[in-house]
Structure formats: structure tokens, C-alpha cells
């Protein structure tokens, strides 16, 4: 067994330094398309799928809907800017009064997370898996994955919430002790994505349980999920939409 210890030591530290320093390695995030207004370039965006009734309503098609099809950026339009980065998590509209958005200081370095797969395609789950693996290692932040919602402070929901998962999702939410925070990760969990709302799917998590933090992306890269968790405990400010350093780089 000592060979494994030796192997582990020899490998050295592989973890990202985020959030102490921004992660600059290539390929940690696919980036995000964005126009100057912060909305998706609708004329190339296949989303919502199919015809849009009436005139396109640009305000409704925002970054939360992006499914990373790259059609906008790989077409020949100059209006599309490609935004690098991964700090995409935002707090859900704060109009629900009396509900603490953040867990508070006592949870900021000790957080237990339960992931619920409410019909995700596997990519989101794979990215969530990565946050507990050496390259991102959320344990260094004091975050832990727990197998039961009984011990969880954060419910990390991925997937559009299929009809068959509505009951388990609600049950898991009710089984959590208070205070609790729900993080919806991925386009499906935010809006239903490609699959919802439909006859077998809901239109995102917020239709079923109150959502506190949202992180878009299809799938959101591990660092975006970590950013969402940091937002949930108040260690990072949420994504504002105005501030992103829009890189001038036109994609590939």
C-alpha cells in the first residue's frame, strides 16, 4: 500500500487556487456568448427550440438559456462576443421576503452539499463530480458532499426536474434541516433547457422548490459550480451582468 502513498505524494498538488487566485488554465470553461446588452444573439440562437410565437422578446432570452450549441459564434456574425470566465452564478430574484438568501457566516467554511439528479444529461453530474476531485477539491474550502439530505445545508439540483423526480426532489428538500439553500446548476435546472417545460419535464427547479442561487451553463464548468457555492455562503459576490470583462476575441 505504501506505493500508493508514494504515488500520491509524487503527484503533488493539482488543485486550482480559485477563489484565492483566478484559474487561468486552458479549458476549464467553455466560456459564454454575449452581446453588448447581455442577451443572447437571438437570430442565431435555436433557443427556445422551434418557432417563437410572435416577435422575438430579447429580454427573455438571456444567458440562462444558453445550451452551448456554438451556432451563434460559429456563424458569421460580428455581434457575438465571447466571454471567457466562469463566475456566472447569480442569486435568484430577491423578492421572496423573509427568506435568508445566504446561509450566513457559520456555514461559510463548513458546508454540506447534497446533489440531486433531477433528470440531468450526465454532463452536469460529471462536472459536479469533478468539484470533489483533486483538480478542484472543494474540501479545501470546507465544502463536503454528503449522501443524505438530512446532513445537507445545500441542495445542488441538476436537471430540468422530470415528472418522475418531482416527488423525490420535494421529499429531499423537506428532509433537509433549516437553514437550507438550493442551488440550481445548469441550463436545464434553470429553465428546463431543451427538455422542459414538456409533457415529462418541468421548467426548471424553481417550479417545485424555492431556488436561491442559479448557475447557468450547459454544463456549468466545475469552477462555476464552486462559484455558486461560494455565493451561497456569501464568500463571493454574484455575477452582475454589467461587469464581465468581455473579451474581444471572436471565437475560433
Amino acid at each position: 500500500m505504501s506505493k500508493w502513498v508514494w504515488k500520491g505524494l509524487r503527484t503533488g498538488k493539482k488543485s486550482s487556487h480559485y477563489p484565492d487566485a483566478p484559474e487561468t488554465a486552458a479549458g476549464v470553461s467553455p466560456g459564454m456568448p454575449l452581446t453588448e446588452t447581455g442577451a443572447l444573439p437571438l437570430e442565431f440562437c435555436p433557443f427556445p427550440v422551434g418557432e417563437i410565437e410572435g416577435s422575438p422578446d430579447e429580454s427573455k432570452t438571456d444567458i440562462r438559456d444558453c445550451v452551448h450549441c456554438f451556432r451563434c459564434v460559429r456563424s458569421s456574425s460580428d455581434r457575438v462576443k465571447w466571454q471567457e470566465g466562469y463566475e456566472w452564478a447569480s442569486e435568484k430574484d430577491a423578492d421572496a421576503k423573509g427568506h435568508s438568501r445566504q446561509l450566513g457566516a457559520s456555514f461559510s467554511h463548513s458546508l454540506n452539499i447534497r446533489m440531486i439528479d433531477a433528470g440531468a444529461c450526465g454532463a452536469c453530474i460529471s462536472e459536479v463530480k469533478q468539484i470533489a476531485k483533486p483538480c478542484y477539491s472543494i474540501h479545501r474550502l470546507g465544502f463536503f458532499i454528503t449522501p443524505t439530505p438530512r446532513h445537507a445545508d445545500v441542495l445542488l439540483v441538476v436537471g430540468p426536474v422530470t415528472d418522475n423526480m418531482v416527488f423525490p426532489l420535494k421529499k429531499a428538500y423537506e428532509a433537509m434541516p433549516t437553514p437550507k439553500v438550493v442551488v440550481a446548476a445548469g441550463t436545464c435546472a434553470l429553465t428546463g433547457g431543451l427538455f422542459g417545460p414538456g409533457f415529462a419535464c418541468g421548467a426548471g427547479v424553481s417550479d417545485f422548490i424555492p431556488v436561491d442561487v442559479e448557475v447557468p451553463g450547459c454544463p456549468p464548468p466545475p469552477l462555476a459550480i464552486i462559484h455558486a457555492l461560494l455565493v451561497a455562503v456569501g464568500r463571493k459576490p454574484p455575477f452582475s451582468g454589467q461587469k464581465p470583462s468581455i473579451s474581444e476575441r471572436k471565437a475560433l
Binding site: C121, A123, A200
Partner: protein
């Protein structure tokens, strides 16, 4: 082969399509079982998928078989016509067991009655959907209110009748990162006697959603219903569409597609190896494999724009022309990762505590693997060496310049599966190297791709096995019917074979050695 099929089913017609023989057999209901049995038993055909089409109580069922003993059999479609609101179809599951779940699915979604099938009922649609509501039928009303009260919880008939037997429920929300699925383990303690799996917790209605959508929108669905094997599925879908539209792709496109399909396979298999290590609680090895997986994800993102290769495949080619130089650099980097994977496997091979948990655990006999029609690495670990890349070559796989073979093992246990995953991963790196060396120059997409109406079957060897995408496109460019048979659906069907008669603590390990995706299975 053609004459043999003629002997079994007189009046069959054979065409050569893209160099492959495709046989169409029209079959009467009372002949169906006989034809299917002789196709599989005598000619060695393997059941691929069941396609059900309905238009106002006119039913058309297509039983698609592929393979054959000498791998030159191509495809056979046995067609059956029926009419009526709920026609009674003879079940072939008792003869061709691989069709079991297909029939259950069709019963649940279409309301067909498969006569002679013992286990129809709750399958895709769970207890909150009353019997008689069949969403894939044309008369289905999605706006209809479902009863929300008085839902009778699912309770399968207990099979183990031994005194003191009980059922141990696992899931649907369980383990740290497990995908939602439920397993009811029947046991009398210690050993699992019977596994009753329950899937489709993640049923998103992929096939129903596709109906009436534009082909390019359905592509998004095909790509995203299973994110971890997105490229393979979008490839199969695109090939089906291209075959309908008779598109002539520039030579660079199939080569690059093969290149990325193998990159995805490599990444997927490294992830499975990480999960197997994790299931045996070998922390360092898990971390090592996870580091490799993340590095591969980053490479995908760096060179193809997306960590899971989304948005790369489009009908008519690829949306991105990756330069020759980039491919060579990428191959080099993947090669160095492969070297580290070899080191890891060397260490695993000499970790007795690790091997003890895998060897002779979760074994599937070759006969069972054949009967259940298992595919991919799991079938190959049990000695059923069948690979669509060889049996029904697509993309650049049929090229003479590409030399590779499907690695197989005989034991069928967890360790054999691990070795297959590893050997296939290494094979993938080798294929990538060969392609990177001889990439044809030019464009990667047809300049103009026109959608036509028609029917076609596309397939690809996804990381966990054979994936079939059957599609019917209307003349206006919209999809009339889309049928996906992913490998996870096929293989989960046989999962219980491996998990039965092993101890509880082996269950997660056996599950990890299968390396399947529930999202892919549930659609």
C-alpha cells in the same frame, strides 16, 4: 446470407445501402416469433431495436436486427403491420430476450399489448401516470390533468419467496453523485438474490419532444440527452440524417469525427476507471484517474471549444475545422495522458486489495450476454466481441488505412470489464494517432446541406456500446418519428445478471464496472 434470409422469410427484399446489405422482411403476426427466433438462433443476428410508428390507429412495428455470424449480414428489418386502438402483438421477449425492455417500453408509451410478456406495466411512466395514458400515441393530450392525490406507491411483485426474504431499497436519491435510479435488492441477508431495477426516473420524453421539430433542433436533443457520450450520439444522428439526404461529406469530416469519437471514448473510459477505483475506496487511484479525466476534459475544451464536445457535429460535417497541427498536438498530449494511465493500471494490477474486490465478482456468462444482447465493453468482457466500428463500419472506421481491433476478454467478471475499458482506451489513443498522421486536407462540412424527407437508421459505437438512432423526416424537414436505442438501455437490462448472488458490498462495485449512464438509458 441473403438466400438464408430468403429461406426463413420468403418474399424478403435486400438492397445494398452504403456498401451494407439491408434486408426488409414483411411479416404476419403469427409468423413473427418464428422469423425472429430463426434470425437470431440460426443466422446469429442480434436484436438492435424496436421501432413503433403510429398514425391514427395504423401501426407499423419494425424489429431491426444487425450483425449475423460472419459480420457481413448487415441489417434486417422485420416489419409488422397492425391496426386498432390497442392491437395485440405477439411478444418475442421469451425467444429474443433482448427485446424485453423494448416491448415493455412500447407497452407503456404506446399502449400496445404484447401477448405473452409476463412483466408488462410500470416501466417508463411511474405510478403518478395512470394506466391507459400513453404519451407517444398521436391521440395523447399533454395538457390533460393527471391525478395528484391517491397515488398508489410502486410495489413490484416480490420474486424471492424464501421465508424471511426482504427487499432492500436503494435510491432514487442515494450515494454521493449517483444518477437517479432505484434498485430493489431482494435478499435474505448478505447475498443479493434478485435485483429489481427501476429506471426512467430521468425520462424526459426525448422521442416525443423530437416529433415535429426541425432536424437541427433534434440534433441538440440527440447531443444533450446523454452528455457524457454526446459526440457518439450526435454522430449517429447526423449519419442518419446524412444518409436520408444523401450528402457527400468531404473526406476530412469522417476522419475528424472518428478522431473526436475516440477522444470521447478515451475520456469516458478514464472516467469509468476512476469510478471503479472509487467504488473500491482506493483513494489515490481514484484521484489519479480523476486528474487524467479532468485533463482530458480541458483538452477537449481547448481544442474543440467544449468540455463534452457539444456543438461539434452538424448534419453535413463538423462545425469546426480543427487544424492538422492542433490534432497532432492534441494527440501528443493525449498520448502522455495514456502513458500515465498505463502506469496507473500497472499499479492497480499489483494491488491485491483492489483485485480482490473485482476478480470473480459480477460475472456474466457468455450465453447470458448473448441472450440479453449486451453491447459494448460489457459484452466484450464476456467474450461477445461485437463492435459496430467493425461490424457496420461508419465514418473512417471502414478505411483500410485504419488498423484496430476490438479488445475482448473471456471471464466476464469485474476485472475483465476493467481490462476491456483500459484496453479500449489505449486502442482509442492508437486510432487517434493513426488519424492525426493522415488527415485528409480540405473542408469539414458540405457547403450547403438540404434536408429531405425519408427514413434512415444511424448508428455509432458509443463509449458504452452500440447506439442506434432511427429517424423518419417529413418532407418539410421536420422529424416525424425519432427512435433512440442507447447502449445503456440495452446493458442495464442485463445488469441484474451480474449483481445477483453477490454480497451487498459488491453491489456498488459491480455497478461501477458497468460504467453505464442512466441519462442515456432513460432518455
Amino acid at each position: 446470407m441473403r438466400s438464408q434470409i430468403e429461406r426463413i422469410a420468403p418474399g424478403s427484399e435486400t438492397f445494398i445501402c452504403n456498401g451494407l446489405p439491408v434486408t426488409f422482411v414483411d411479416c404476419a403476426p403469427d409468423e413473427l416469433q418464428n422469423v425472429c427466433e430463426r434470425l437470431t438462433a440460426e443466422l446469429g443476428y442480434r436484436f438492435a431495436t424496436l421501432v413503433v410508428e403510429e398514425a391514427h390507429c395504423d401501426w407499423q412495428l419494425g424489429y431491426i436486427f444487425c450483425g449475423g455470424h460472419d459480420l457481413q449480414g448487415g441489417l434486417v428489418r422485420v416489419s409488422l403491420k397492425a391496426s386498432g386502438a390497442r392491437p395485440i402483438i405477439p411478444s418475442i421477449s421469451a425467444i429474443v430476450h433482448a427485446a424485453d425492455w423494448h416491448e415493455r417500453e412500447a407497452e407503456d408509451l404506446f399502449g400496445l399489448v404484447f401477448e405473452g410478456h409476463p412483466k408488462l406495466g410500470d416501466f417508463v411512466l411511474h405510478e403518478h401516470t395512470p394506466e391507459g395514458i400513453n404519451p407517444m400515441r398521436s391521440d395523447f393530450d399533454p395538457a390533460a390533468e393527471l391525478p395528484s392525490e391517491d397515488i398508489c406507491p410502486w410495489r413490484p411483485g416480490r420474486i424471492v419467496q424464501t421465508p424471511g426474504a426482504f427487499a432492500m431499497p436503494i435510491g432514487p436519491v442515494y450515494s454521493d453523485f449517483a444518477e437517479s435510479a432505484h434498485f430493489l435488492l431482494e435478499t435474505v441477508g448478505e447475498d443479493v438474490i434478485r435485483v429489481i431495477p427501476r429506471f426512467f426516473y430521468k425520462y424526459r420524453g426525448l422521442e416525443k419532444l423530437a416529433e415535429g421539430r426541425r432536424v437541427e433542433d433534434v440534433l441538440l436533443l440527440a447531443e444533450r440527452f446523454s452528455g457524457t457520450s454526446a459526440f457518439a450520439h450526435s454522430l449517429a444522428f447526423c449519419q442518419a440524417v446524412e444518409s436520408i439526404c444523401e450528402a457527400k461529406l468531404p473526406a476530412r469530416a469522417p476522419a475528424l469525427r472518428t478522431f473526436f469519437a475516440e477522444l470521447e471514448r478515451f475520456r469516458y473510459h478514464v472516467g469509468v476507471i476512476a469510478d471503479i477505483c472509487g467504488s473500491t475506496a482506493l483513494a489515490v487511484a481514484t484521484s489519479q484517474a480523476a486528474i487524467l479525466e479532468e485533463e482530458l476534459l480541458r483538452l477537449c475544451c481547448k481544442y474543440a471549444g467544449h468540455r463534452y464536445l457539444f456543438g461539434l457535429n452538424i448534419p453535413g460535417g463538423l462545425s469546426l475545422n480543427v487544424e492538422d497541427e492542433a490534432c497532432r498536438v492534441l494527440t501528443g498530449e493525449v498520448g502522455s495522458i495514456a502513458k500515465r494511465l498505463v502506469d496507473l493500471m500497472e499499479m492497480l494490477r499489483f494491488s491485491s486489495s483492489f483485485l480482490d474486490r473485482l476478480e470473480q465478482v459480477g460475472a456474466i456468462a457468455k450465453k447470458d450476454a448473448t441472450d440479453y444482447g449486451l453491447v459494448g465493453p460489457i459484452a466484450r468482457a464476456s467474450g461477445v466481441v461485437r463492435d459496430l466500428r467493425i461490424a457496420l463500419p461508419y465514418a473512417a472506421y471502414g478505411k483500410d488505412s485504419l488498423s484496430f481491433s476490438a479488445p475482448g476478454e473471456e471471464e466476464g467478471d469485474g476485472y475483465a470489464r476493467l481490462r476491456v475499458f483500459f484496453n479500449e482506451a489505449m486502442q482509442s489513443v492508437e486510432i487517434m494517432r493513426q488519424i492525426a498522421e493522415s488527415l485528409p486536407p480540405g473542408e469539414v462540412r458540405v457547403p450547403r446541406f438540404d434536408i429531405k424527407g425519408g427514413v434512415s437508421l444511424g448508428w455509432a459505437e458509443a463509449p458504452c456500446g452500440a447506439a442506434f438512432h432511427w429517424i423518419r423526416v417529413r418532407n418539410d424537414g421536420r422529424v416525424a418519428r425519432y427512435r433512440v436505442t442507447p447502449p445503456s438501455f440495452t446493458n442495464w437490462h442485463g445488469f441484474h445478471l451480474a449483481a445477483e448472488n453477490f454480497a451487498f458490498q459488491d453491489f456498488p462495485i459491480i455497478m461501477a464496472t458497468f460504467g453505464l449512464s442512466n441519462a442515456e438509458c432513460d432518455r
